[in-house]
Symmetry: C2
Subunit: 457 residues, 2 copies
Amino acid sequence: MSPFEQIDAYLESHLDESIAELSQLVAQPSVGAQNWGMKECAALVAGMLRKRGFTAEIMPTGNEFGEGAPVVLGERKGKSDKTLLFYNHYDVQPAEPLELWETPPFEPSLREGKLFGRGVSDDKGHIVSRLFAIDALLNELSELPCNVKFIIEGEEETSSLHLHDFVRQNKERLKADACIWEFGGVDHEETPIQYLGLRGICYVELSLETASTDVHSGLGGSIFPNAAWRLVWALNTLKGPDERIRIPGHYDNVKPPSARDRELMAALPETANEYMTRYGLKNFVRGLSGGVELRLAEVFEPTCTICGLTSGYQGSGSKTVQPAQASAKVDFRLVPDQTPEEILAKLRAHLDAEGFEDVQVEYLGGEPAARTDPDDPFIKLVVETAGEVYGAPMQLVPLVGGSGPNAPFIHELGLPVATAGLGYPDTRAHAPNENIRIDLYLKHAKHMARLMVEFGK
Amino acid sequence: MSPFEQIDAYLESHLDESIAELSQLVAQPSVGAQNWGMKECAALVAGMLRKRGFTAEIMPTGNEFGEGAPVVLGERKGKSDKTLLFYNHYDVQPAEPLELWETPPFEPSLREGKLFGRGVSDDKGHIVSRLFAIDALLNELSELPCNVKFIIEGEEETSSLHLHDFVRQNKERLKADACIWEFGGVDHEETPIQYLGLRGICYVELSLETASTDVHSGLGGSIFPNAAWRLVWALNTLKGPDERIRIPGHYDNVKPPSARDRELMAALPETANEYMTRYGLKNFVRGLSGGVELRLAEVFEPTCTICGLTSGYQGSGSKTVQPAQASAKVDFRLVPDQTPEEILAKLRAHLDAEGFEDVQVEYLGGEPAARTDPDDPFIKLVVETAGEVYGAPMQLVPLVGGSGPNAPFIHELGLPVATAGLGYPDTRAHAPNENIRIDLYLKHAKHMARLMVEFGK
């Protein structure tokens, strides 16, 4: 019997226990945006590391944005002197809108081979599945095949406001040879995907106040400024129905996809029908219909997304009021080589130039895009070990639409960063009924166990 | 001692009891938009009428919009055969945003000569103050000087969806010689105002759905339609920063103010500084700064007001989500001779023509504008009797910015409709900290007692 057969057998026979441990972690809310349960969750995660013989330290964070959620650092020595660093996060997105959940978001529910709950996929399932792989290695080999470090932060869902500084300040403790990112998974054809880069982000809240109090709309309607209207007009100057961002200079630093990028994107499967069905869409924007052009637009285009609008009366029926306040949450996804600082400055200048000096811009966080070379040897190793588990070659994706704080790992620590994980297209991260498939949870643990063995050689 | 001296003395010595009765009525929530406490409030009002020897009937309403809140009809015979009809409403606006109230909206609070609470001014204070005048007349004269009828509806704050039909169906029971409207009051110089007409209204909710579920903004941002963005773009086609409504034909039926209207508007006091201070404004729209032009714009211009915006994430911090749904509450104020049916049809045609067929328009109610002749004898009587109480001549205002269902009273019942009331500029109707001044409450009761005596002659 090969060591991998024994390791796989261990994982298969201990799966229920691991899912129970994951359920316990999901049941602990840790909503960063609402500052709900963060310290409790960090303590729970540190306890899980210590149970496996890791040193685990809960470290405070803070910078000019104020105090942050603590980071959990864990470390355990292994046989070889090579070090693998896992980046994860214990915070989750808000669960709202609550009424769309089939079972309560913080009461994990197992049905039809899936576990449902807020954060079960993003990112608690990844944390516990990796610990599960470590359990198997320790049980079968009595030691880890390589040094393993964990950095598990609490602000990934709120733009990792303090992580960049934390990494810079703890370079020595985070020293490693390679990094496995918080997520990964298979596409709708069950092909495991290697995401080689992440878009950046610049998240802002636009708000304004036109009066000291709401006013009866019969009085103010003709002659008083209306905060909701001014917000609509200000937003309308940011992006038009042609989806082109109208902020002057917004596209100046956009680097178009290279020939290698286009080659990798062309090799990816068609996603158009899958998206249409899954999300109940009637169309894509800008006349896109599918093919490599849809895939390139999905990730190589900067975005300006309204994530939320708030003003005036939002209850049932009618209320005849002219709102004094209005606000919008706006998320700019950045492509190489845009930076959040640059985008923020251009946004402010644009609003001022358009006569919207009264629109306040609050920066809620951001990070630049960052990418790993598709031909790095560590990427090759992650791809090969996945092939054994998934029975399909891992597909290389040069850039992905989402964001994350990979820039400090790539640029400060100098690490190749590979993705691997238990995600799948219907995992509903950030949405109601977030879930993981149990079969993919097991596969990810098997993959990580193999990777640590081969990496240690 | 003249009968008015005795009546006034009665009102002054029984003021506390009347305020206690009003407090009881305000403590009973009756938020039509939230269907909260409506039947209980109707029963309370009917009981107050019966206590004064009125017949009082709680009558159901309903039409093609469904079942409505009940109407309370009250009647008591008097000495003369002339009949005065009071129109009031027992429903109130929603109290949100609750956090801006200094004391809870449904726990009436008396301080600094004012009574605070939701509905205390609009319109419960008017109901109880008029009943208070009747108490004084019955006490001093043993009978009413004229027949008095009350129609007290429960849908004024939700566009009186069923009142027009109700009036048409109960013409005989509502037969009268003149009507006193639900509101009135003094301006910021303590001058009592006679409002001779009301703008109409067409209140709609615009909503759309671009996907079956919210999507992570990293995925959908570049290629999926975003409900919030489509709402912003659709709204932007309705009115531009120049405040001109862009719906084709919207101004076709607007009748400009007549020479008599301009004469009456020119005689009104300046309001610009008062508005700036009271509502904390930095400017008016369209470069208006004051004078008769500001006053004409305030009421003779049709409006398009966003009363509320709702989409996506509205909590604290950031959530990176692309919303599948978005909606806006929009209130069009109508001037003579616009009608809600016409405006609704033009809005739909415009949205379709602009490519916003996906924006749903839900009609939440409306009514046309209606006006009473400034030279009607009943208006003269209301003005004269006010002069005795307020010590200042009543000022005639040809049209007011707010709306109300005066059209069926003027056009179906053929009544002159006059306003009189306890309002004042800081009464905060529809806003947090709604309040009345106790001195004006007393004056309104004195005015109504005089009016009934003179009207009966």
